[in-house]
Assembly symmetry: C2
Homo-oligomer: 414 residues x 2
């Protein structure tokens, strides 16, 4: 969460928070039948019908509709917050979970679409993932192709048929589109050809263009994606970090432009860990003002499960790196004073609160993951030195009181 | 919240989180009649009787009772989290608010009491308050005095009478203690004398000792406070930052030892912004294991109201300091690339997403509180320079592309 916060802020996204409870009418019917059923909903003490938010997007839409006049556009916000769904809990899926959303609203500039990809990229790198691919698509590519063949009204059936490709094979998909959905065989073949395009972004875009032709909707998607991939090349984003995948669709109704999914090379099976896209109108349910935007959401619980599996989660359970052992209870003030001195020097330090057996204190230090233990008994106090034990290297050195902070800085920065 | 997090961590407190919803039986009867009534409580989809937490202490007690075996002691945790109470909302008092708690449990060492005071002190300083006083007391001082006179069983009535001191005056308080509560006049006079002690911590402690004598309970409090104030002196905490105030009591039943309240010199009327104390047994309601501890809680909403009143809240609404203006839409990739370069150099930078009129972009920059705007048009791109406009000083300079990051670092660190 700290990393997400830092990356979002570095792009100028401001934090906002909204209440956990919203009036139920704000949330009902905005997600799916499922989210309606999974809402924790009740009457409060004032007999208001309220519910706990099931995502951060609907509350943001409500917030934007109410406040966009004061906020002005473009408006960039991030929100790291808890949401609730009465689901059946399973691995990486909980009734309470945290979403990390960021969105730019009030602009339809492609610059924001490209920047959204930058944010996802920088976020994944900052977390420590080396192998990941952001798959990008644009909703208007397929729409343009369907529009060219005047079959936009049959898109639901066509998409349903395409979804079965892996299971039933190309011939049967074409048969279903022709016999079931009722489109021309030549059209069905072109749609299938489009859905199977692969290769470099440039080659896919060139192939897609020959299928879509000069259809206006399709050209919107082609132009946007061309600019996106060219800009990524110019700014030096590595080729294997981004891909054009015409098969991703993401929540059919909501998104209208660029869409993003992010997969880990070492754990593709876990699904997308950061997804999003461009929408035409965020707050349309709450206001007449049109608020286009683009954003994405980091799936924190899924990501943590993945990081755990990849060994990226450190097990240290203390945020401090130095433990000041309490060897002699009579000298409590000295140990506490040392803690203060180290903190003033920018070193996080915990002082063990009791003069228990020193072995117990070392056990504590090891279990909690401290890097260094600092000890002094009567001899050390007399000579104004400290015993510095490096738990990682297993070494012990005597350091003069005046040099202690510098010495610890040296150990901790190694 | 970021500052609280940093200070807590520097002392070795680990973050924990607990769910917003607890079984109602966990929360009921643990606060007061009021908190019971103010709970947002309902039946979930599985017909479980659940409620939203009204503080972070009871859930921590439940958590500690369940997990202390794995956690081990001492255990230091902080928790910055949202809590809910169906109160009548008023200034600085909301139905949803954030608490910032920290506690050390599993030790009765006075070192932890003293460190709790250090945490409050460092936190207030880190937030930016210069004038504040942490008022300290110990529950066993008054208890010791009452015990010495064998009137502990009458403490409720005695405290009620003492509470009226400012309103009704000394004579009437003594009369109430004698006639209403039924204690000896000499005892009542000593209790009143104790309650009115003032001066330096050392003088109060000396006066208190002559009243309390060698009563065992009272001596516990005296010894603990003596060590606390002596240690504060040794480690160099300024005298005006701490005071001994025998009149503070804080939640009569819960605390058993040292207690803390923190007042702002410029806004004493707002009440304590950071309060806490030592308790004998945190998790007694949930486990047989005895878990003594000490901690405090930062009242974030009250503190923010105070900071707002004292002009300590900055109004900038962007976390980025540099706005890259988009002068020429054709050069979008260049502006986006510059944003990336600046971020790599550790400078938070937002790129304006559209080539709108430059005045509009400056309006945006001023409204959001950006410090610097960076601009380039065709001439600048040709000459590989950027126009750097310092919004605070109102100056504009031309900087070579290669020197830009260094130049901005210079401006931002001034």
């Amino acid at each position: 969460m700290g990393i997400a916060r830092r990356v979002y802020r570095s792009f100028g996204f401001s934090p906002i928070d909204t209440p956990a409870l919203e009036y139920s009418e704000i949330l009902l019917g905005k997600g799916s039948d499922e989210t309606d059923k999974q809402m924790f909903r009740f009457q409060d003490q004032g007999e208001r019908d309220v519910a706990m938010r099931f995502d951060l997007t609907i509350p943001f839409a409500r917030f934007a509709a109410q406040h966009i006049g004061q906020l002005g556009t473009p408006f960039k916000r991030y929100h790291i917050g808890t949401v609730w769904r009465a689901e059946k809990p399973q691995k990486g899926r909980y009734r309470e979970f945290i979403q990390c959303d960021f969105d730019t609203i009030g602009t339809d500039s492609n610059a924001s679409d490209i920047e959204t990809l930058f944010v996802i990229h920088d976020l994944m790198e900052a977390i420590g993932f080396t192998g990941f691919t952001i798959r990008v698509n644009h909703r208007q590519l397929l729409n343009g192709l369907l529009d060219r063949h005047s079959v936009v009204d049959k898109s639901v059936g066509i998409l349903r048929a395409l979804d079965k490709l892996a299971k039933i094979g190309a011939d049967k998909v074409i048969a279903e589109m022709v016999d079931g959905v009722g489109i021309e065989k030549a059209t069905a073949e072109q749609i299938l050809e489009f859905a199977q395009l692969s290769g470099t972004p440039a080659s896919i875009l060139s192939d897609a263009e020959s299928l879509i032709g000069d259809n206006e909707r399709g050209q919107v998607g082609l132009t946007s994606l061309k600019e996106l991939f060219e800009t990524c090349r110019k700014v030096g984003i590595e080729d294997d970090r981004i891909a054009l995948d015409v098969s991703i669709a993401r929540g059919l109704d909501y998104y209208t432009g660029t869409i993003y999914e992010t997969f880990l090379s070492d754990l593709p099976g876990i699904g997308s860990v950061c997804s999003g896209g461009r929408y035409d109108n965020l707050a349309g349910l709450f206001t007449k003002e049109k608020l286009p935007g683009v954003g994405a959401s980091l799936g924190l619980d899924r990501l943590l499960a993945a990081m755990d599996e990849l060994g990226l989660v450190k097990t240290a359970s203390t945020p401090a790196q130095v433990l000041v052992a309490m060897f002699d209870g009579e000298k409590m003030a000295e140990y506490l004073a040392l803690g203060r001195r180290l903190r003033s020097a920018g070193i996080s330090a915990e002082v063990y609160p009791q003069a228990r057996k020193i072995q117990k204190q070392f056990q504590y230090a090891n279990r909690k993951g401290f890097r260094v233990v600092v000890i002094a008994g009567s001899r050390e106090f007399e000579q104004q030195v400290w015993n510095v034990k490096d738990l990682e290297l297993g070494t012990q050195t005597e350091v003069a009181d005046a040099d202690l902070a510098a010495s610890l800085h040296g150990i901790l920065s190694r």
